[in-house]
């Protein structure tokens, strides 16, 4: 009997320890809790870290105060898979009880978080940099706000520029095989096909693909250019193998294709890259006082950061900024399911380092887009020169909303103009 009771005692003690952890302390509403969700692990970990810099920069500039209340930041991490994003969001929303969640970073994560948002109407979800189109275009959540533009908006003007100024009539696309690059390809093809251009073939590759030889040799010899929407190392790998195979067709770049990893490469590729057009929500070398102020603030706050804020730091920065300014405007009033806050965020026009931003009826940002082209400076370094700013691009790329929706959800095969 003594044996038995001692065993029971030990089991009871063990489970009691676990049970004790389950009862969280009650929280008074003196502070406002803000969750930030980014990819701090996996392939996009470096980008996720830069996103967090954007959040912190905005908070530092506000002294971690908004609407007269203290802002408490709680970080969450995913690995770019929708599952991990949902898990992290559940922890932030259901356990840490954040009032506002800023994130996520990657396309398919955003689609998952939007679905999750519908089950938690008491919390406001503000997108990070996730740029899949259907996060807001189709079946939007009433409490999901996106102050960043989507992947199709990022490519505004690029199709027209390639067709008219560059004179490309026939292209093939090479892009990664998930929701964000689909959206990018749509953004490019929308103008390009309408003007009479042809996308004769599309190649979809897995993220992190190393061997592009089968694609390199499948590119028809009669195309004028290749549209490449690959990120970081994938773009370098593709271009290297394309060059080694003797390819010489000019490139058109997606928003995260022609970044510093590509521009910093040495050798023959440098000459090849000059003149490559691209478009996106930021341009590193934009000569504008507001933008320069933002870059300076970023550099001062994070000496260990990138030389210049990435579009991820920028996206999280303006999203956090919009939340903080809105909280100031409504004096931190989160009553009635945050009605005042949401009303303000939905209707107000915000000033950001990249121009004015306001939301449409689906709570999707309308903002300026930068059309750039690779050029060499007097030291011989390559950079993205701003060619043109496309003002206030909306989600339907200037088209009638019903017509745009009638084209159907973006996918590997939609749109098509062979």
């Amino acid at each position: 009997m003594t044996m038995l009771s001692r065993r029971s005692l030990m089991t009871a003690a063990a489970v009691a320890v676990l049970a004790w952890g389950a009862v969280g302390p009650a929280q008074a509403q003196e502070t406002i809790k803000m969750g930030a969700l980014a990819t701090l692990e996996g392939a996009f970990a470096v980008l996720g870290q830069d996103s967090m810099r954007g959040v912190k920069l905005a908070l530092q500039q506000h002294n971690y105060m908004a609407g007269g209340k203290k802002i408490e930041l709680i970080e969450g991490s995913s690995d770019a898979s929708p599952d991990s994003a949902i898990r992290a969001a559940k922890k932030l929303v259901e356990q840490d009880k954040v009032d506002v969640l800023v994130g996520p970073l990657s396309g398919s994560e955003g689609l998952a978080i939007k679905d999750y948002a519908k089950e938690h109407l008491g919390t406001s979800f503000v997108n990070g940099t996730s740029a899949a189109q259907d996060t807001t275009l189709r079946d939007p959540a009433p409490n999901f706000f996106r102050f960043t533009t989507d992947g199709a908006q990022w490519q505004a003007g690029l199709g027209e520029y390639a067709f008219k100024n560059k004179g490309y009539k026939k292209v093939v696309t090479v892009a990664e095989d998930y929701s964000f690059p689909y959206t990018q390809v749509l953004g490019f093809m929308n103008d390009f096909c309408r003007l009479g251009g042809h996308v004769v073939d599309k190649f979809w590759v897995p993220i992190g693909n190393k061997d592009y030889s089968s694609i390199v040799y499948s590119i028809p010899s009669d195309v004028d250019a290749i549209y490449v929407a690959l990120g970081g190392a994938d773009a370098v790998n593709f271009l290297t193998q394309y060059e080694q195979a003797g390819g010489d067709k000019p490139m058109i770049g997606g928003s995260i294709t022609v970044d510093q990893t590509v521009l910093g490469t040495k050798g023959k590729k440098r000459d090849y890259l000059i003149g490559t057009p691209s478009a996106g929500p930021i341009a590193d070398n934009w000569d504008n006082p507001e933008w320069k102020k933002f870059v300076k603030a970023y550099q001062d706050a994070f000496p260990d950061g990138f030389p210049s804020p990435s579009l991820f730091a920028h996206g999280y920065y303006i999203s956090t900024l919009a939340v903080l300014e809105s909280l100031d405007a409504v004096k931190g009033d989160l009553s009635n399911d945050q009605a005042k806050l949401r009303e303000y965020m939905s209707t107000h026009e915000f000033d950001t380092p990249t121009g004015k931003v306001h939301l449409d009826q689906n709570r999707q940002a309308v903002a300026d887009i930068f059309l750039t082209e690779v050029a060499a400076n007097d030291k011989g370094q390559l950079f993205n020169k701003v060619v043109k700013i496309i003002p206030q691009v909306n989600q339907t790329l200037g088209m009638d909303r019903d017509k745009f929706l009638a084209m159907g959800p973006v996918s590997r095969d939609n749109p098509s103009c062979p």
Binding site: L4, M10, T11, L40, D79, S81, E94, Q95, D177
Partner: protein
């Protein structure tokens, strides 16, 4: 007490016949407090703890239990258990309802539920047919290869598995008029399935089949000489554990309401092995203990240490457990109990 001292003496004797004394855990009524806490858990925990910690731990525990059964009793370390779970989850989405209306067939849950279990079990059986030709590290390699191949296949196949996006809005069926997505019903559903799986393994361990599998682990050649069908028994073990993993996979897809290649990638595949080893491979309660520790670490390590370094904490904890106790967390329990018994011995 006498029997325990005998065991210890035997284990300590040079050239002892018993390689490893069976792990001694509390028996019978000693589990009553544990059962009580599990049953009343939803009373004092919030929704997050009920589902994301409680139910999620048990689901990972079930899948790890299927590995524990194969590895602990059969000596076959299969890394494809998460793939089998994912297979069940995928087919539940393909045959039933999901956001990908062009692919999902929309059949009734009464049909999709058994069918997806059946398909996943068949998948596990085929893995078993292949893997039972190998042993030791080669089993690990071939099952890892299968898991990785299945991951890439689902990611690049758009006709059946819907590629990178996978399936969203996969909801549990509304059996018996209950919404099983609600935290409370889902928690108890998971608890019942876990208990059944646990009981099944405990029963199998003592059954003729279980004993045969354990004997195969210890000496295949002798068993073959005795006339046992080695491959047959091993494949059957794969099938049985595959069925268990498939149950876990269905619960997993109901919890997440989505299945995509990320769920069955190399990371999650290795996680299952980590959970099983962390908990201990010698007793069926081990995987559940390991899963609980894993889920707690996974969720709260980011609060202990800021930003980029939290994965280091998780890794160090695993290292510490494996370093100090080869039998995982269960081994630590055993040591604690042994220490306590020693202390009390004079009074016995």
């Amino acid at each position: 007490m006498a029997s325990i001292s005998d065991d210890r003496a035997r284990a300590a004797a040079p050239g002892a016949a018993v390689e490893r004394a069976p792990l001694r855990l509390p028996k019978g009524w000693a589990y009553l407090p544990l059962a009580l806490v599990l049953l009343t858990f939803p009373l004092y925990a919030n929704g997050f703890w009920i589902v994301q910690i409680g139910a999620y731990s048990m689901i990972l525990g079930i899948i790890a239990l299927s590995l524990m059964f194969l590895a602990g009793y059969g000596g076959m370390v299969s890394l494809a258990q998460m793939s089998v779970a994912g297979c069940a989850a995928y087919f539940f989405a393909i045959l039933g309802h999901s956001s990908a209306e062009a692919i999902s067939l929309g059949w009734s849950a009464w049909l999709t539920l058994p069918l997806s279990l059946l398909i996943a079990t068949a998948f596990a059986t085929m893995i078993g047919l292949l893997a039972s030709r190998t042993a030791g590290i080669y089993t690990i390699m071939i099952t890892l290869a299968i898991a990785v191949a299945f991951f890439y296949f689902t990611r690049q196949n758009y006709d059946l598995f819907n590629g990178f996006n996978g399936f969203a809005q996969v909801e549990p069926p509304h059996f018996f008029g209950l919404d099983w997505r609600q935290p409370l019903p889902f928690f108890y559903l998971t608890l019942v399935v876990s208990a059944l799986c646990y009981a099944a393994v405990v029963y199998l361990r003592r059954s003729t089949f279980g004993l045969t599998v354990q004997a195969l682990r210890d000496n295949q050649r002798r068993m073959r000489a005795l006339g046992y069908h080695v491959t047959g028994h091993q494949v059957a073990a794969y099938a049985a554990s595959g069925f268990m993993a498939a149950l876990g996979g269905l619960l997993l897809v109901w919890l997440n309401t989505r299945i995509s290649p990320g769920t069955i990638g190399v990371g999650p595949v290795i996680d299952i092995l980590i959970i099983a080893v962390l908990g201990g491979l010698r007793h069926p309660i081990g995987p559940f203990v390991g899963a609980l520790a894993f889920v707690l670490l996974d969720n709260f390590a980011i609060d202990l240490i800021d930003r980029e370094r939290f994965n280091t904490v998780i890794g160090l904890c695993f290292l510490a457990v494996v370093l100090f106790s080869p039998d995982g967390l269960l081994g630590l329990w055993e040591e604690a109990r042994a220490a306590l018994t020693r202390e009390r011995r004079p009074r016995d």
